[in-house]
Symmetry: C5
Subunit: 389 residues, 5 copies
């Protein structure tokens, strides 16, 4: 159970918090987190340089000499490196705390000269993973922090930068920030696709194989969609703020792209809300399905019991030991020539009558389903909505 606990608390960001009452800006580094690796990519329209595994001091040297410098820090497992960077880039302690204390809501904050942007990325294999990505945007640089290394969507952005004549090479640092945020937002689509498929699978199973275990899976999906919701709504707010607020370093031509990115976020949220509504219908379907199944079980029981109980009664009637010799009134049937066949006939008639009764009630399957098909086909015959005159 403890493993699951940890996972949950990680999701909502409870485990890695400092004690209440401690000084603000305390960096609480998770020792199990990967150690930070610095990569620099400095480029202009016609030249580019890339280096990996450098020290913070090395990174400083690119600043001011290139149109755009992108310093990315992958892994947050070493407070010293992060604090060195904070000093070089003059980062406020509270912003730094937010970088390390992952599971912040997406937000934009202005510290003089620097824009601090936080976003939550998501990916899905068996489980849902969320990763905080933090950006500092300066006049000519983007400094990005990632919880883990190797965000594949960011590799594609790097590839675009490496391509000479790519638009991104012509643009400023704000366009780089946009490209990275766009990669984060677009990363939600495959995650949603995954949940779409899972919901669909569950929608079938909930009817055809309802068992207790399915509750766990429905619950898992609902919880994860809740988590995604918690990541995406602030993302939308954050992008809206980037789009509308007078933020230095962000040019009007980039705002057009940010608006597109904002639209994608709205699309993500739309789908998410649809999936949330679909998944919240699953439990209802499950309950109906169980009840329906119980109904079937009850019918089988009732039919068996109702048919055989009277028959057994008749049989036990003639099992009574009344002394037929003492009185001609005492079960004379037992001595009839046709007694036994007659009783068998009575039994068969009783059973037949009951079967007919249950069939008429529709409990024996069959007729109940046919009319539905008709109703559907009449739907199909409805007049076309906009047939030309």
């Amino acid at each position: 159970m403890s493993r699951r606990h940890k996972r949950r608390h990680r999701h909502v960001g409870l485990r890695t918090r400092t004690k209440p009452g401690t000084s603000p800006g305390t960096l609480l580094v998770d020792p199990a987190a990967p150690k930070p690796v610095l990569r620099v990519m400095a480029y202009g329209p016609d030249r580019i340089v890339e280096r990996e595994g450098i020290s913070p001091e090395d990174a400083r040297e690119y600043l001011g000499h290139w149109p755009v410098t992108w310093i990315s820090v992958e892994g947050l497992g070493d407070a010293t490196v992060i604090e060195e960077l904070a000093e070089i880039f003059d980062i406020h302690r509270l912003a730094l705390e937010d970088v390390v204390n992952v599971h912040q809501r997406a937000k934009v904050e202005q510290y003089d000269g620097l824009q601090f942007v936080v976003a939550q990325a998501a990916s899905l294999d068996q489980d849902l993973h969320t990763e905080q990505v933090s950006f500092f945007l300066g006049a000519d640089f983007v400094l990005s922090f990632h919880e883990r290394s190797g965000e594949p969507a960011f590799e594609l952005v790097r590839d675009r930068i490496r391509t000479s004549r790519a638009r991104i090479r012509e643009e400023k640092a704000d366009y780089l920030l946009y490209s990275l945020l766009d990669a984060v937002v677009d990363g939600y689509f495959p995650v949603l696709e995954g949940y779409g498929e899972r919901i669909e699978t569950l929608e079938d199973e909930v009817i055809h194989k309802p068992d207790n275990e399915i509750i766990f899976r429905i619950r898992e999906i609902r919880r994860n969609l809740l988590m995604l919701r918690r990541s995406t709504w602030p993302l939308r707010e954050m992008l809206n703020s980037l789009l509308r607020d007078p933020i230095p370093h962000i040019t009007d031509s980039t705002r057009v792209y940010l608006r597109d990115c904002y639209d994608h976020t709205v699309h993500v949220i739309d789908i998410l809300e649809i999936y949330r509504e679909l998944s919240s219908g699953l439990m209802e379907d499950y309950l109906s399905s169980i009840n329906n199944q119980m109904n079937q079980v009850m019918k089988v029981l009732t039919i068996f019991a109702a048919i055989f109980i009277p028959l057994s009664f008749i049989a036990s009637l003639y099992g009574m030991n009344f002394n037929t010799k003492r009185s001609p009134l005492n079960m004379p049937e037992l001595d009839w020539y046709w007694g036994y066949p007659f009783v068998l006939l009575v039994m068969a008639a009783t059973a037949g009558g009951l079967l007919w009764y249950f069939r008429r009630k529709g409990w024996l399957g069959g007729g109940a389903k046919t009319p539905r098909v008709d109703s559907r086909s009449t739907d199909a015959e409805r007049r076309e909505p906009t047939a030309p005159e």
Copy 2:
């Protein structure tokens, strides 16, 4: 299952997306989509010309020479044609991406000189189909893109244009845009009518023939109403924005018409929300209906069991093999002259008593339903609300 998957993802626009991290404005044309067919309709109050199947270059020639030129592109299956048009009309890459990457939310966006309008049209045969229609409004032209060819509602607009002296011939391009949007909005009414009928059919079946399969149909309706909701609410926002924002090319006299179109959208949304509420009551009704049915089954079982079990017990009592000869206390009834008839009488009395008991409890049908009719007729006798004095 894969067929259904595809359909669902198409609805929410997940399948046709580019990879996260790729460059914005990438056109991802669905190769299975129909190839684009261009039609031009250029008209003024007293002259009109129509051509079909032309090339983008041909279309360019009408611009500037006619009061209104309508270039419609039906089918989005060829990126080259679309990019040629983008060049001619000076369309921003992001707008172009939105045209091709269907399943955008309805929206208005201003690119200098051009108004970009996206809307989702809907139609219903067996399934719900949504189609994105995109418009670019210039000073004297409308450029429209349709996913598929042959929107019948648009043919009616063409017919109105062909009629000389029609109001639409006197008006500018903004009125044409209004007419097309109005056709899109009004196309929702027959769709809603279809769902109204389906809900009504289900409302009957849910009570009279509740089975598991009905859950699928309720779910289908609820999902489609969700999809419609996702199409119509942004439509309302978009029309409101067209109505209120200072958008060039849109005149005040057309705004009066757009207000009417906006009212229609509100009407659509009103009905949609009513249908959503009705459909969300269906599962509840279904569950109640199943439970009620189970109740009936249980009553039948209980009546059978409760009547025959005591009778069987009496019969088996007299089936015991106590030695009546050893002791006069051992089942002397077996030797009585009236023994058998007496036992039959006891059995009949037991059965009769139980039947009376169950009838009094109202389990045998009958009396429970009559009072309701009275209560209804008293409703009818209520005094008229506004009888004249």
Copy 3:
């Protein structure tokens, strides 16, 4: 079924729509609607004239010669008459379309010189009826359109006008408009009263006579309350707009009255929302009631089965045909002197023990209900909330 379909679609205004793509302002008159009857009432503080069944041309003559002229058109079944009126009063085509295409949301629209006001009136006999009432307010006239003739509440307004020295005779046309709107709004109160009674009746029946048919009635009420909601919320918006917006022809002294009318609408909505909440609890109550009933059925079954099954077993035990002569171990009880009474005693003890067990579990009625009464009386003994010191 078709009759019900028609009724439903009428409610939400789907059946009478024009085809998507047709020209705006097309009048689609329902041929089954009653033919229009014109009535004129022209009055001032000290004189009054009334005429009925006149032509549109006749109506024109009153305009400008009386302080207030009220032309009312009852019935919308003839497009010619309505169009003639439109010409006389210079009514915009779109407003005219809204008059004829009933089931508009309540709204105020300004067309130069004319205020166009739409409201939905409601009445209840067996079914809920809604009727659209449209008003055009000019400087010295009110032109009203009614779907059907003979709104009784309007007759009361006429009576007030006929009374000399009535306040309404002193006031302008805006006060007449207010009086008619007030009559429309107050007409909702008896409708709500009717639903209050129906809900109360259902609240009893849902517990005491739960059957499938009750689902239909609950659903009917919920749907009608939904419809009423759709009528009343826009009514409130409309009145608020009349109250706050700078609308010509509406004087400040009339605004005080409109504020009162607005308060009434809010009262209507308050009650409506209470009834909606009460009615949405009905299905829940019904489900609980069915489940409770099933519980009772199950208890009866279980008690019968659990008591008689062991007894039957004992009886059938002694019905076995073991050869008592072969072995003294084979059912010696059968040959005992007190065998039969002993077995009867065992049976009685078994039955008694089980009865005691079920009584202790509270399944046999009785004790379970008494404590509740106590708990209620303790409620009554609570100290009075605001007893004087």
Copy 4:
């Protein structure tokens, strides 16, 4: 039933309305209401006079001669007295209608020179009672109308006024109005306390004695909380309006007190919403409880049936009358020496095996509950949240 009807309609204010279409400002006095009794209390910092049972004309004489005059009218059963007062204080007809037609929403309305304030007071004995209290605030007087006489909370305010040197004696009329409103708002707290206790009682009973009758009591509570909600939300709006709007006669020092009163209203609403949520969980709990109980019943039935049915089968097997003499294959067990003991043993083994099976399934009570206690104690062992370092 009629008694309950009346009560309900009174609550929502439906019964005492005028007919739709009648003139605004019509006073519809309930003849069963108590006749009005006038009390005057005129006071300043150092003198005070009190009179009861006076005529409206008497009341007029105090005006203008005292710093504060409080005229209270208890009972609304006589239109003449009320109209006389209206004339003396120059009250608008619509305000007067609102005074008499109780069940208005709380509100503040300005009529020139006079502030009209309506509030709903609540009290609870067996049933919930609401009473409308209306106030007119002038420069140096408060005129209050009460549905019934003897609001105990108001007596306490009188006592405070009677105390010389009390703060209230130093203040103006607006402070008196505040004191009365504060008494009204604080009167909700004991009502809520009463509902808190009722909900708690029901929470126990719903689990331990679920029966149909409990549905009525849950419903009663939910309805009353709905009614309270309808009273309190407008109260909050009203107080907010008194607090923020530029209302003459209300001084800034009194506004500080009104803010406190507003805070109390928010507190009332907070508790109310908590109780509403708790009470809406009651039906769910009830349903779960019934289902759980049915589960228990089913288990008892199943255990009895499953154990005895096989035993009975074995017994009836050996009750068959096969002729053991004809063939040694025909039930030779019947002639065995150990036949009967052997069969008894088989039966005991069968019963034992089934009991073991049901115990292992946890249907026989016992072990299922123990682990929960452990889980709770582990909760207790969690580390203290804020232990000092």
Copy 5:
């Protein structure tokens, strides 16, 4: 029961209220509350003094001589001490009432020269405890009131103050206020963690050991989350007001920290809402689980009954006492040589057939669960969302 009552009413603040109608600002001290203990901590960048258990008069002496003075009052059980302090610090009576009458909503109020801030702290051992903390912020002092002594989070703040060179020593009184509020807000995280674990435990038990008692625990959690919600939402509002409103004594550099504190509150609320949603799914899961269990019980019953009832019938058939000598038609099987084995065979075949039927229906466990695993693994095989090209 009374103990629980008290606890509940304490939570919502009902028990400690004054009577409706009493004078505002009346201090109603709970005599059982701990007596107040005063502690003073006066500090500047380079000096610090601490004293405990002093009198209000002693406290006065520090004011004005130190950069920051923090007077904390722990325990509210003595009105005299509190009123003495009120006089020294010139506190408004209404603010004082709010300090003593705990269970106020969090709020900021400005009294001239003093900022009054109320917050609710929470802690969790077995039960949830909330404590009101009130602050008065002056130019150079913070006066804090605590319901109980020894808030551990505040001890940590004291430790930080005691540390020379700590940032808090350099800052003004507003930073101290921030530090204390931050401690209050961060105190919610361990509480939420506790509820996270409880919900998780319940999520398991609800499926594996559903019994009535679990309803109480779910209800307890839901109520406590409601209480937390009531505490935290106003906290957010309060912090937002501190952050945005022009409040004297609060500097811009502290506002940056308050923004961080506000973010934490939003985080708390986010998690709270997730937990509320999760806990509201618990009852649904419970109901499904019970129904599923009942389904299992019913299947067992049905299988037993359906198999043995026909067998018993066959057995009782041959227990009938027809006279085989009178007629060769009367049960000739009884005299067959292979009669008994033949009947046993028929019985075995019947039982086997029924078992096969039930297995095919999936009622005997087994195959129903295997396909799910497959479906999951297909999920895993989905293509990685952002694989590099």
